[in-house]
Structures are given as C-alpha cells and as structure tokens.
Symmetry: C2
Subunit: 345 residues, 2 copies
Amino acid sequence: MTQARRPTSRDVAAAAEVSVATVSYVMNGRTDRRIPEVTRDRVLAAAEELGYAPDRAARMLRRRSTEQICLVIGSFGVPVLDQLAASLHETGDRHGFGLITMVVNSPPSARRAIERLRERIADGVVIAGGLHHIGADGLQELARAGMPAVVLSNAMPADGFDVYCEPESEAMAEAVGHLWSSDRRRIAYLGHEREVAQYHAGLQVDSDRFAAFATALEGHGGRLDADLVVAGADSRAEGYRAVSALLSAPRPPDAIVAASSRSAVSTIWAARDQGLNAPHDLAVVGAGAIPEALVIRPTLSTIGPPGDSDFTDLATMLFDRITARDAGRWREIRRPWIYHRRGST
Amino acid sequence: MTQARRPTSRDVAAAAEVSVATVSYVMNGRTDRRIPEVTRDRVLAAAEELGYAPDRAARMLRRRSTEQICLVIGSFGVPVLDQLAASLHETGDRHGFGLITMVVNSPPSARRAIERLRERIADGVVIAGGLHHIGADGLQELARAGMPAVVLSNAMPADGFDVYCEPESEAMAEAVGHLWSSDRRRIAYLGHEREVAQYHAGLQVDSDRFAAFATALEGHGGRLDADLVVAGADSRAEGYRAVSALLSAPRPPDAIVAASSRSAVSTIWAARDQGLNAPHDLAVVGAGAIPEALVIRPTLSTIGPPGDSDFTDLATMLFDRITARDAGRWREIRRPWIYHRRGST
DNA sequence: CTGTTAGCGCGTTCAA
DNA sequence: TTGAACGCGCTAACAG
C-alpha cells in the first residue's frame, strides 16, 4: 500500500498506450479536440486504476495561474464570514476556482500572509480581516506584485486594489440620534480592544466606527465620557464581562452602542443578569448583521447592511479583475449601512 | 506601474551578475553554502529592486513539497476553531509551513476539497469538520494518495490516517446521571440537524454524542421521548428558537442536553425569556469548550475536554507524519471528555 | 481528424 | 560559484 511514487501523466499515457498529450486533453475534457470515445475511456480507466491526479504545482507553473482565491480573515468567530465564504465559493465554482483561507491576527502572521500571496499562492485575494496588521504598506506590496485584491474597508484609499465599502456614519448618526431623542444621555461605547486602547492612550483612533459614534454624539451636544468607552466587542465573553463591570460602576450608562453584534447580544444578557431590561433600563445597539438579532427577545437594534448579507457583487468584482488583464479603473462597491430599529432601543 | 512580467530568479541573477544557482542559495539563506557577504548583498538588493518573490509553484514542483498544511472545517462559527488554527499556525511556523483552510459543508464541496488535496495542494491535512460529507470513502481516497491526515473523530476506524479522538460517553453518562439523580425525568436532547433528522426518520444515528446520550438515559431506566429530541445545535439562533418552542409545548422538559455549547448558552437565555431559570426550572448541559461557559450567569455546565483547549499535540502528530517518510503505525490521540459541573445543573 | 513530439515554465541542486 | 539537468503537466506545431 506504500506509495512508491506518485503516478504522473506519463504513467497514465503508458498504461493507456497513448501519448501524454492525449492524457492531458482527456483529463481537461477539452472540447476543441475531438477524442474518440474508446480512447477517452481507456485513458480515464488507466487514470482511475493508477490513482492519478494531476499535480497542481506543475499545472500552476505551466498555466501561470493557480485557480485559487484566498480569503484573509482576522479570526474564525465572526458571523458574517460564513456568508462571505459562501458567496466566494459559489462564484469561484463557476470559474473552476477553489477557495483557501488565511488567518491574520498579528504582525508576523500578516508578513507571512503577504509573502505567501506574493509567491502567487492564489490568483486573487479578499481581505476581510487583519487589515490593521497588514497596513497600507502591505497592501501596496500586494498591489505592486500585481495581485488582484478586494479590501473590505471604509477607510482605505483605493490605490491599486478594489474596495468594498460599507459606510456607517449615517446609520450611526441616526442610531445615536434616536437614543438621544429618547433622553439617553449616558451612552457607552463597547469597542474593540484596539480602538479603545488608542482612545485611552490619547492617540488618533483609526476606527471609522468609533469616529462615527463620537461625531454623532458631539453633533447632539453630548460628550464622550472616558468611563463609558470600554473594550469588549471582540468576543461574546469579553462583552459580557465588560458590560457587567460597566453596569456595576458608580454611574452606569443608560445606553450602549456595541461595535459588534455579538457583544451587543452579550450586553442584553449581562444587563438582565443585573436586573436591568432592554430597552427600558438600557438601550442597546449593535453593529453588523447577525441572525440572532431577529430571534432573541428583545430583538436587537443594529446598524448594519440593508437586506440580507450577500457578497455576490464582491466576488464578481474580484473575478472581473482576475479575468480582465487590463487593470482598468479601481472600483469601489458602496453599501451604506442603515439603522435597523428593533426591540432593544 | 503595469506588471509587464513577473521577475524570475534569472532576472535577479542578471541584475546581480551572478548565476541563478547563487540567487537560489541566497534567497533560501542556506548555511551549507558559503556565499561572500558582498555577493549576498548584491543579490538581495537586486531582488528588492525588482520586487522579486520566488514562484511557489516552481518551488513546489521541484521540491516535491508545498510547505503548507490544510485545515478542513465545516463552517466558520465554531469557537474551538480559533484554538485549533492557533496551534496549527504555531507549530507550522516552526517548520516554515503555512496554513490554509477549506470549508466543506456539502457533498460537492467535499468532492472539490478531496480533489484539491489529491492534487497536492498541501503536505498534510487536519480534518476538523465536514467529515459527514467526506465520508469513509473520501478519507480512503486521501489515504491512498498518501496524504498525511489527522481526523478529528470519535467514530472513524483509523485505517490510513491518524485520529484525534475525544471520547465523550463517560462524561455524558456522568452528566445524565447527575441530572437523573437530581430527579430530572424529562431530559431533552438539542441536537444537530443531521442526527435529529436521522433519529426521527428511524435511521441509524451515526452520532457518537447522541448514542452516548441515549445509552446513558437508558442506563437509568429512562426512555427517549421523540418529542424531546429536537434540532437546534448548529447555531445560536436555531438553538434559541428550538428551545423556545420546546418550552411552550404541552409537556416541556426539565433538563436539556445541548449538542453544542453555543446552543446551550441560547438555551439558558431562551428559558429565561419564558420565566424559567436554570438550574431551578431547567437544567442545562452543553457539549464542548467555550469561553462564555465561565462568564455567563449561571455558569454553564458542560461535558468537554479537561483543562484548556490546546491542540499542540495534534499539530505535532501531523508534522511527525509529514516529516517521517516511513509511515509507521497509525496513531491515535485520546483526550476523554469529562463532566464539568457548574451553575446550570 | 487523430495522435505525437518537443519544449516551455522556474526554482532547486548536483557535479564540476 | 556556476552550468545544466530535473520535476511534471500543458500545448503549439507537426505527422500520420
């Protein structure tokens, strides 16, 4: 049962008593070459018999394409990734492309991912996470290498790649406006580790979401209270913990804007464990689409994409870029978020 | 800025006025070749200047290895994946290996994944999801192709690959025993779509977890009530919905064993929304490790791995297999689950 | 119209 | 330090 040597197309050709060219034509099911039924069957039988599978490395080398696209994510726990992966899979299949995923959650992993991509491990890439670690420099590096890329970002200048943009400032303004008009005056921000750390360090916060929140609040004459900017949006557990602490503090908030839907769900439940009910005692708004939003009680108010999350347009944009050799103008898909008022506000 | 042609090692060699062999030695930082400092610097400068990155396809073809491992998952939303990916990344880095992920959530996607793997897209694979779609046949196919594989499964006969096994019947027996001795007599099973469908169709249920539950229940003289076997473990939203319906039924359960920790969390909250509190009105047990278990109130009782989830041993096993050409005996790592009694039971 | 030959693509590595 | 063979599938060009 030991695999002495991997069978090659030459082995198959010998076994089927044809040339390697014929094997190649048969294996690729080429319609521009007419192969007689009997020859075809003999080749396929020989391939099956030997357990032959073409070596992708050789094919990649010769064809100058990998027939793969790469999805870069920051971590596995984000609900929207299933949607994104599904869309990429679906569109990829139609082009005969496979999908691989890489996780970027640190500067070193970002370096390695960029290196791998520059080595042409894929024909195109969708960057849906880890962008902070990759940075504008990393994107430039990919662009210079001629790697077709779609970046999910609200803040990146589109120089050398396509952008999928979900502007959220208007939705955020509406949500905060709604909270304000409901007489909420102590509105907390449950943010991601990174943005909150930047804020408290007095640095420039490079987060579109946080900026939109701060702007909206100030627009109503409110002011950002440092005690009400806390980390906890990165996971459900952290969200629960952070909100529990926040509500036990001397001057608890009367509303919470959470930078992820997951942590918004945790917020509702952490509040209830302290005897506080949304929306009466605490208004809660999440950011992003999540199936639970419509299922839990109260239903979760969010800012998020209108309608169902579907990334077919993103996938199409990527494959257009991969297919069209002439770079053309860099494109941008804009899908502004809206405020979905539901039960928690 | 248009990339006329990707620079090759020959381009670098020409620019640095050395041979391609020297370029190769420098790029790989080989210590067994003495390359003078000046030559080295000239080569690196030329590579940088031209934006050269070696073509992985060519390297793969020549080296007969991809320096990549592949993680096969069923979907993105499973908490333990972050742990698994982290361990694989860490161990992979030490070997200079990259990690790619493929999603298998349907028979066609399983076929494509197997095909890709047979084409040697990776040097080894960890199958952590989608196993039902891959099936024993698919695994055999990979084994025959000589692909080193570690399969996370409790039920697969280890014929041609290594197995990472987390037997849970004892933990389940203990959990059910505890429920039983607390006078719970209507114990529901919140299962995965697939196992519940099989059960209600009167088919053989090929789920270790369900079997362990049924056996444990019968061991106490209890019997499986068809009304109390419901689907909803696949996601939080489905769990919430299923439990809400279950608790509104004429004869609701007094305990729920959930086949995922995520749905167990939803269970607690769905119950509370109906005015029922765990553990008093409803005992809840989840399956698997999840950070929230220790954070929410009540803390969640689970069956799961002892201690922290860490898959270093799994990763090591895979790399041993990849490195050691002599197949050796197929290995199995066993990490029996235990019953973690916490606040919800 | 069918099948074959020959050489390409590019990094690696042995022999010199 | 280098020249040249090598790995393997693909395909243009050619022969039967």
